[in-house]
């Protein structure tokens, strides 16, 4: 990916920053909006090339945004609750077997955004932290995950336990 300035990247980052600013201030006074526009334009000029790689307007699609919301509110929250309860058991005197396991990534998540989203979701569930993401010669992705309580040493099944549902949902959003 080239790191040059492009206007579509700038516009995409600008819209994101400006939306964030409007939500944060929650006011439609002209002064607030003008200041927000200036700051967003500056930030977008510097950060756009790092934030956006290709398909600048990929996420500005209502279907994807709704799916992202459904994923975060239902699927992800349920995984987090389950993982938290098992973490409570470990902290309050339970036994655990730590390990670092290499789990294969599914075919549905290929892009950098998708990989980042899956690894962040794995890290956000207590009990698993993604340490690295690697790609082998055939283009298949692997996640190295520090797992607090290794209950399954088979890598395919472990991957299904750690990220199965989350990866399928993210695959629908980011590919």
């Amino acid at each position: 990916m080239e790191k040059t300035f492009r206007w579509d990247r700038w516009l995409s980052t600008f819209v994101l920053c400006f939306l964030f600013w409007m939500l944060l201030t929650w006011s439609v006074a002209v002064r607030e909006l003008a200041l927000g526009a200036v700051v967003s334009a500056l930030v977008a000029a510097f950060a756009g090339r790092f934030l956006i790689h290709d398909h600048p307007f990929y996420l500005y699609n209502p279907v994807r945004l709704v799916m992202l919301l459904v994923y975060v509110v239902f699927v992800f929250l349920w995984e987090v609750i389950k993982a938290n309860l098992s973490m409570v058991k470990i902290v309050l005197g339970g036994d655990y077997k730590p390990g670092i396991i290499r789990i294969p990534g599914g075919d549905q998540v290929k892009s950098l955004y998708g990989l980042a989203a899956v690894s962040n979701c794995i890290t956000l569930t207590p009990g698993t932290i993604t340490m690295d993401v690697a790609e082998d010669e055939s283009g298949k992705n692997y996640y190295y995950v520090h797992w607090m309580d290794v209950t399954e040493t088979d890598r395919e099944k472990a991957g299904e336990i750690i990220k199965g549902r989350m990866e399928r949902w993210i695959g629908r959003i980011w590919k």
């Binding site: 964030f20 939500l23 944060l24 929650w26 006011s27 929250l77 987090v80 609750i81 938290n84 973490m87 409570v88 470990i90 902290v91 309050l92 655990y96 077997k97 730590p98 390990g99 670092i100 396991i101 290499r102 690894s119 962040n120 979701c121 890290t123 956000l124 569930t125 207590p126 009990g127 698993t128 932290i129 993604t130 340490m131 690295d132 690697a134 190295y144 520090h146 607090m148 290794v150 040493t153 890598r155």
Partner: protein
């Protein structure tokens, strides 16, 4: 309404307590990082929800809910980045896990 706010607050504080207890009690860096995730996820989610309910019961404007939710989004977005960086840095510095790792694919593949 009042009861729901209190229950959510209690659950959130309980998970904060678990996270802090884990950081103090567990033996090594990796396990402590895992426990600290409890604070950022369930603890923060429950506290923000109770804050939203409280704002509703007090009749605050929409801006308050939005700000509370943005707070949650910010915490949830920044926590995994730092956690991942700390975990990898600790591993590459050669911190020895207190409990023997059941399996260590990373070591084999990196050839260290």
């Amino acid at each position: 309404m009042r009861i729901a706010i209190d229950i959510l607050l209690a659950v959130g504080l309980f998970f904060h307590f678990i996270g802090v207890l884990g950081v103090l009690r567990l033996p090594d860096v990796f396990a402590r990082l895992q426990a600290s995730t409890c604070v950022a996820t369930m603890g923060t989610i429950c506290l923000v929800l109770s804050g939203v309910l409280y704002a509703v019961s007090q009749g605050s404007g929409v801006g308050t809910y939005v700000k509370l939710c943005l707070l949650l989004v910010l915490v949830l977005c920044t926590n995994p980045v730092s956690n991942h960086a700390l975990c990898k840095a600790a591993y590459q510095m050669g911190v020895k896990p207190a409990k023997e790792l059941v399996l260590d694919d990373y070591k084999e593949d990196e050839g260290k």
